[in-house]
Amino acid sequence: MSGSWVLVDIGSTFTKVTAVDIGQRRILAQSSAPTTIEDVSIGLRNALQGLGLDAEQLRQARKLACSSAAGGLRMVAIGLVQDLTAKAARLAALGAGARVLSTYSFQLTEADREEIIELQPDIILLAGGTDGGNRENILHNAKVLASLPNPVPVVIAGNRSVAQEVAACFPPEFSTYIAPNVMPQIGQLQVDPAREVIRRVFMEKIIYAKGLDKAGRWIEGIFMPTPAAVLRAGQLLSQGTAARKGWGDLLIVDVGGATTDVHSLGKGLPTRAGVVVRGLPEPYAKRTVEGDLGVRVSVLSLMETVGPDVLAQEVNWTREEVESRAELLHAHPDTLPESDEEWHFDRVLARLAVAHAVSRHVGRLSELYTPAGLVWVQEGKDLSSVATVIGTGGVLVRSHDPLAVLEGAGKQGDAPLELRPEDPLFFLDGSYILASMGLLAQEEPDAAFDILTDSLSNYKLARREQ
């Protein structure tokens, strides 16, 4: 139970490395260097050198990595009914840390096939039908996919009665993997086994296809996409280990230039009596990604969602000023704020991105008047009793006032029926170690838990004022 570990996150712009001593439960050093996509081992070596460890210590340290470079893990999810197996497939892919490029339901058309060719996914997740249920749809879709000009790994997670038959539709150039159905019965979601198969395909195939294997001479392997590592860290923190009591239900928010990710760990069962739950059950570890909510590349769609007038009012600028600043940030995503007003604008953007992303992630209540009286109907997860909200990612970590941004995740006056955390404590992943500890959790869960909780406790933000 001692020794050094080096945890590596090969990101799209930076390769970040964290060295920890698991005996002493502390971070030894952190460093980063620009990712060199033509040969990632160069950027990785630069980052490792920045740690300042002596050569022998570095050589002896165990090294694990995750990656979101080269576009991350790009997936397409396919099911039968949009709100059932297609949604389950999408949730499974997101939980595996993928960027879901598109989700398809019912029979794939020629236009869908053309679109999938254009999208060039790394992996296709093919679901459809409950176990013993519909078989024609997934077979039809398998035949369409089998005719794609470039072979793509296909994870089959649909009706188990036809899984073998589906796999047999593909020519030998396609690698196919059979996983348990993402929705074995109506109302039952089973995404973890498919997630694990996706992770294995990523580790065994995709990193080679993307040339990330060149990092291999420095590290033991790239074990998962970075968002999967973040989700795993959340799970560790929430559930604890055999020897450590977890923090319970929690929410992790990551605001970026292009997307805003929300992870929740919790069952999300109703917190008040007399509520009827409707719709597909949601996974304990749920991840959503909002591709239209970001503070740089996606700033125009964020502004459209919020409404330019609302944004103008929030920052106390004119609508024209708001629009021209947004255009500038969109056109030049590297722009950093300079004046106080520009910092304020960035903060408001980030808070609105958080508010809208959390709104889409959490469940909501609706009132239903029946002859038997008023009934409350819950759809999605009730996260109102979540006690911990953690912010991560560059936008939040660099912000002058991360609490103001993160408060977008809490209760909003204009949306009383959204089941958001009502009175959480806010934390910042200030030393940027969530993904690293998610990796370490695979091998040394107690040490990962201790280092993570210690770091977060140093970045506890004040409790929300009611």
């Binding site: 039968l80 009914v81 459809g128 039908g129 013993g132 249920g133 009827v276 239903l368 038997a372």
Partner: protein, 136 residues
């Protein structure tokens, strides 16, 4: 022979859960594969569950008198979804008050239900017919 799959649920804004549970138990014991959607089930949910499970029949309950408005259009929605010929039953307190049963039955047959059952129908009253209709 593979078990027949039934989609079961209480339609509309109806929250009567007890009869629904009794039906689930009785039908499961009778050897059916029961997909029980529970209470407050919308037409969309019936259609989608029948699609995913490749169901052989849909069994709709309604116990609060508003069945006509809740069930109107369900057959058409199934036709749109490509499973328009699925067997469909309805039963319960379908209308308010003491209306002539033959009129009620005719009304619901016209809405596309193959069989219509009055209040207090016991599982053993309709299971033999269901088997027959499913060619078992």
């Amino acid at each position: 022979m593979e078990a027949k799959t039934l989609v079961l649920g209480v339609i509309g804004a109806d929250v009567h859960a007890v009869g629904n549970k009794i039906l689930e138990i009785a039908l499961t014991e009778a050897g059916f594969n029961v997909v029980n959607l529970g209470v407050l089930v919308s037409q969309k949910e019936f259609v989608e569950a029948a699609l995913e499970t490749d169901a052989d029949a849909i069994l709709v309950s309604s116990l609060y008198g508003h069945a006509e408005i809740d069930a109107r259009g369900l057959r058409e929605a199934l036709i749109e979804a490509g499973i328009g010929d699925i067997l469909m039953y309805i039963g319960g307190y379908l209308v308010v008050g003491n209306q002539d049963w033959s009129e009620v039955e005719a009304k619901f047959k016209q809405l596309g239900f193959d069989r219509v059952y009055p209040p207090s129908t016991l599982p053993e009253d309709f299971i033999p017919t269901l088997r027959e209709d499913l060619g078992m």
